[in-house]
């Protein structure tokens, strides 16, 4: 029999005192699509579940600021997937949000939750890494911002200290014209997790960025492969070397979804697809590579 207590605080301060209060093992609840399942399977057994949706300082807004887009902790994946600015200027981010789960899941699940769950296969992480996203954290001792690359530490582990929660995610505008793409391979769309996910970014200044998911303990940028591809993707030798370096950068494991070898083979295919797609998108938008 599953037991836990429940609280729906109205302010961040109330949430902080609950998180660091008398009841140990408190879990914040945003979309709940991971948490409720984890409680059911026993993977998580919080004594207290704290609903974030009623907290007045937390927002589900996606705001176009001067320097970039600020995505509130309560923004659902559905809202992110259809947001016009994200689709136009950060296509990989909108695309990755749209690939998670089913419509029903995306209507509930939040991107902040996807980051906090810290799955190696989290789809939004590679896309956000492309754009050097930062995570804004709030806690009883104040606020801090952490680069996403430092936020996700290891499988199921973030840098959040006890009593801290994610308030928003900030994504700086890229230099335009640029574009990006997130592609993943899964056994079944609509429910399954990524076997491999690759996010690519390209700009007219010949910059190429790559981030790989589900092929290491956390998603990561493949900087060395980026540097090779930047020298000119039209050159077949450079192209091959860049793809090989992306494969080299990965350290996938074998698990129930795929073997290590299969994942390594997929990285090359998906990286090629993601880079080509980003380049095509720049061309469609009138940019010249």
């Amino acid at each position: 029999m599953v037991t836990f207590q429940y609280a729906a605080p109205a302010t961040l301060n109330d949430a902080f005192s609950l998180l660091s209060g008398a009841v140990r093992d408190a879990a914040p609840l945003a979309g709940g699509t991971d948490l409720i399942n984890n409680i059911r399977t026993g993977a998580q057994s919080p004594k207290l579940v704290i609903l974030l949706r009623g907290i007045r300082e937390l927002s589900g807004a996606i705001e176009e600021k001067q320097e970039g887009v600020l995505i509130g902790a309560l923004a659902t994946l559905s809202e992110i997937a259809r947001h016009a600015c994200l689709r136009r200027d950060f296509p990989a981010i909108a695309e990755s949000a749209n690939l998670i789960g089913s419509k029903q899941i995306r209507n509930r699940a939040t991107m902040a939750g996807n980051l906090c769950n810290a799955s190696p296969a989290a789809d939004t992480v590679p896309a956000l890494l492309l754009y050097d996203a930062t995570v804004n954290i709030a806690g009883s001792k104040g606020r801090r911002s952490v680069p996403l690359a430092a936020f996700v530490r290891s499988p199921n582990q973030t840098c959040l200290a006890a009593g801290e929660i994610v308030e928003s995610v900030f994504v700086p505008y890229p230099a335009l014209p640029s574009s990006s793409c997130y592609v993943r391979f899964a056994r079944r769309e609509g429910a399954d997790l990524a076997i491999v996910g690759v996010a690519a970014f390209a700009s007219v200044t010949h910059e190429v960025r790559l981030a790989l998911g589900a092929v290491g303990p956390t998603a990561f940028r493949a900087y060395e492969a980026e540097n090779i591809l930047r020298q000119g993707v039209q050159d077949p030798a450079i192209w091959e070397r860049g793809l090989a370096q992306a494969v080299n950068a990965a350290a996938p494991i074998s698990d129930l979804r795929a073997s290590r070898e299969y994942r390594l083979a997929l990285i090359k295919v998906l990286t090629a697809e993601a880079v080509r797609c980003s380049l095509d998108r720049i061309r469609t938008r009138g940019g010249k590579w």
Binding site: T33, L51, Q104, A191
Partner: protein
């Protein structure tokens, strides 16, 4: 403030409903076992199959992974709330006409996903229908008829809408 039994009030199929729920119970459990609304089916109980789909504040959600207290203050629509004055919703009629029901276990969830889709997008493409239903599994594998039924329901609703606008 911290509690395990919670009094919630929400709109259920148009009627204000107040009930004390255990905070560990899901919306699906409360709908079926406390409120007697058995149309919402529970199958995988992990948000994968969509049999328990209901509409909360206009959005299709899996009621098996929503905690009951979360719907406090929300508007919830279940399959029982679709028929009006004894008349089936055009989506329900279309499912019958197109033979989109086999064993029937997934049907309520399919119809609720279709309802949310057609409310948001009255004229969906086949691809959009398939995307909206991707989280609803039919193990009789009758998907083609289901997609046809949603498409036909869209046309019915458009016709009703056109008449209403003229009238």
């Amino acid at each position: 403030m911290v509690t395990d039994l919670i009094a919630i009030t929400f709109t259920l199929n148009g009627a204000t409903t107040s009930i004390d729920v255990s905070c560990t119970h899901t919306l699906a459990k409360v709908l079926r076992e406390r409120l007697g609304l058995m149309g919402t089916k529970v199958s995988c109980e992990q948000g994968e199959c969509g049999a328990c789909t209901v509409i909360v504040d206009g959005k299709a959600v899996n009621s098996c992974i929503v905690l009951a207290p979360e719907v406090d203050g929300c508007e919830v629509l279940t399959i029982e709330g679709l028929a009006r004055h004894g008349e089936l919703d055009p989506i329900q009629t279309a499912f019958i006409e197109e033979g989109a029901v086999q064993c029937g276990y997934c049907t309520a969830g399919m119809i609720m996903s279709a309802k949310a889709l057609l409310t948001e997008n009255p004229d969906p493409t086949d691809l959009e229908i398939r995307e909206a239903l991707a989280g609803n599994l039919c193990r009789c594998t009758g998907y083609q008829r289901i997609v046809q039924a949603v498409s036909s329901a869209a046309k019915k609703l458009q016709a009703i809408d056109a008449v209403a606008r003229k009238g």
